[in-house]
Subunit: 387 residues, 2 copies
């Protein structure tokens, strides 16, 4: 029997309807800017996908820019903010405010520019009580040279939701439109309903393969008319001149379909994920008691994510995962006894506990039976009383 897949925060399979939409879209091979009947059908399919993504975030199709994925979207936002700082003749070196728990696609490009002395960066730490950044810490970090605030919407390992809406409101009210506010929503999209107007961000990163869509993504803007953004790629002027490159029609159509699936059943999807995760955590509580700890269980979290330390398991949690036959999951670190997830460390979790932690990220089709099997195996491998 194949192990159950509890690693949906890494990547998800394609929704069957996404797969079939892409198969159909292989026939839409024309360049949508050309003047022929296939091109017109292609342009229509792309605009439908754009509308569906816009709907997902409560903005219009005009605010959706397709990209090759979250890594591009995140790298782009940083490049644009630095360019605009220069174009706008802002004082001082461009300054960026971010958190200490961002995805490498935010952290690494910032560190390179910091090393190259192109920018200053403040990595705001998260509270060890909640796993979330504090709004006041973000505000305190701001300077007159801050050109970008980028804080993820939900952490990929702990699932903890970050106070992006509060940050958006506060930064906007104190600094107006001089600061670009961005959130990497890679992990939140397709799991919870998201409204860009409610978040008060200028842009949000979308990644298809985290919500049963293809391996492309988007950068979605609050309002393309109001938000200043500099292209990363120049060339053919596609995507309103903001992202050149001939449109990847099948991927765009697939991303639109993934959004449609969520738009049509967002509440059921979130409830189902939450039901699975809560059931899993309840079972662990009943069977393992104080032999385990769910990190930040009291914080607002993604509905599908459970970061669990198995306190009485002596070796590293990567050995636990290797030994488990009923499911696959991840630890967020290379399998080495001196390593643990840098994200968990940044959340204030000591090495001794972080190194015993497994991330369970459930999917839309995870069953109660899969959870039962996993819990039974976890108990038999980690509980002193059961050994």
């Amino acid at each position: 029997m194949e192990p159950a897949y509890f690693d949906n925060n890494a990547t998800t399979p394609l929704d069957p309807s996404v797969m079939s939409s892409m198969r159909d879209a292989f026939d839409l091979w024309a360049n949508p800017s050309s003047n022929n009947s296939n091109a017109r059908k292609t342009a229509l399919a792309i605009s439908e996908a754009r509308r569906e993504i816009g709907k997902m975030f409560q903005v219009t199709s005009d605010d959706v820019i397709f990209t090759s994925g979250g890594t591009e979207s995140n790298n782009w936002v940083i490049d644009s903010a630095v360019r605009l700082h220069k174009y706008n003749k802002r004082v001082g070196k461009p300054h960026v405010v971010t958190s200490s728990i961002e995805h490498p696609a935010i952290k690494e490009p910032l560190l390179r520019r910091l090393r190259d002395e192109e920018i200053d960066v403040t990595f705001v730490e998260v509270s060890p009580e909640t796993g979330a950044v504090r709004v006041e810490d973000v505000l305190t970090a701001m300077t007159s040279s801050t050109c970008l605030v980028t804080i993820m919407l939900a952490n990929n390992e702990t699932g903890v939701l970050q106070p992006v809406a509060e940050i958006g409101v506060s930064v906007r009210s104190k600094f107006g439109n001089s600061v670009f506010i961005h959130t990497d929503a890679a992990q939140a999209v397709g799991k919870i309903a998201i409204s860009i107007p409610d978040l008060h961000v200028d842009a949000l990163t979308v990644v298809g393969h985290k919500f049963y869509g293809p391996r492309n993504g988007a950068l979605v803007l609050r309002s393309r008319a109001e938000v200043a953004l500099e292209p990363l790629f120049l060339g053919g002027n596609q995507e309103f001149g903001l992202r050149s490159g001939t449109e990847n029609t099948p991927m765009v159509v697939g991303l639109g379909q993934a959004a449609r699936v969520f738009n049509e059943a967002s509440e059921e999807i979130e409830q189902r994920l939450r039901g699975t995760r809560d059931y899993f955590e309840a079972q662990l509580k009943e069977c393992l008691g104080d032999e385990h700890k769910v990190h930040f269980g009291a914080s607002p979290r993604l509905p599908n994510t459970s970061s669990v330390a198995f306190l009485n398991y002596e070796p590293h949690s990567c050995h636990l995962i290797e030994n488990c036959k009923t499911f696959s999951a991840s630890t967020g670190a290379a399998c080495h006894k001196s390593e643990c997830s840098p994200i968990l460390t940044a959340c204030g979790i000591p090495f001794s506990i972080a190194s015993k932690t497994v991330r369970f990220s459930f999917g839309r089709s995870t069953t109660k039976e899969e959870v039962d099997l996993a819990v039974a195996e976890l108990v038999s491998l980690t509980s002193r009383s059961k050994k």
Copy 2:
């Protein structure tokens, strides 16, 4: 009846075997860095595609970096060269040598950096006799601050092959490895056999959808071990740490299959394209004589491309295309009486002739019957004697 498609330099349909390889690869949805059986199959499929692309250009799989397309590859090479100029503490402002007939995905990012005073650029003009840059002009343009030479392998509108191999040899022998030598091979790939060792370039841009592959691409290196390249995207360290972003498995597999199709029949493909194009030009010569002109017909050209001015056609060539029912093709310019292709102008073709020019780019499945119908229609619409 659908018009014949003579616009294959804009984009091509998917080869049926590429389509089916991608359909199959939808099941390879795992993150190839994960540790499960689907991930291992995924990693294998990606490495097979990489090998096939390497084979296409006579390099190894280790030298192939998948990207989202030619626009990314081209923008990336410029970004990398400028960064390395700085890292290597080279004297002066980074200087780039390119041609006056490059694709916008080279020209536009260079113009932005020029405008931003980040770089100097020399746009080497092409000979109005041959439509190609002269090697000596490229060498004359070089300065002690030149960090990048980027000259396309074949022009998209005229089809004229540029002397990239000679440029590669000369620049390398005079300037060693201090200069990054790049060629945008978007139009040449899949039409003629290409060997990176023979071209003496450091990197070459590949675009899937120009040779019956998907809407992604690659940057292929002479030798990853020997060529210095700075990543454009940072994040998850995919593609040997050079291009982060979770691998787009179906697109990668499709690109590999498009390469396989060409690798297995490159001579036949080239001969077939050349046969079609030569037949077309012979028919035009017979029927239209001096009422038409094939631009740079005596230059080495792509085997599928014919840039033809219809000298006795009074209106703009875009009206000619609009009136033709038997085929679709392009003019390289917006349909406006005061506009003509800036590429043709840069090739020294006067407006009066450029504005009467149509680009015919034939495909692997273009038939003699399609050509006959097109020629008959063109003759009836453009020849004084036939009207």
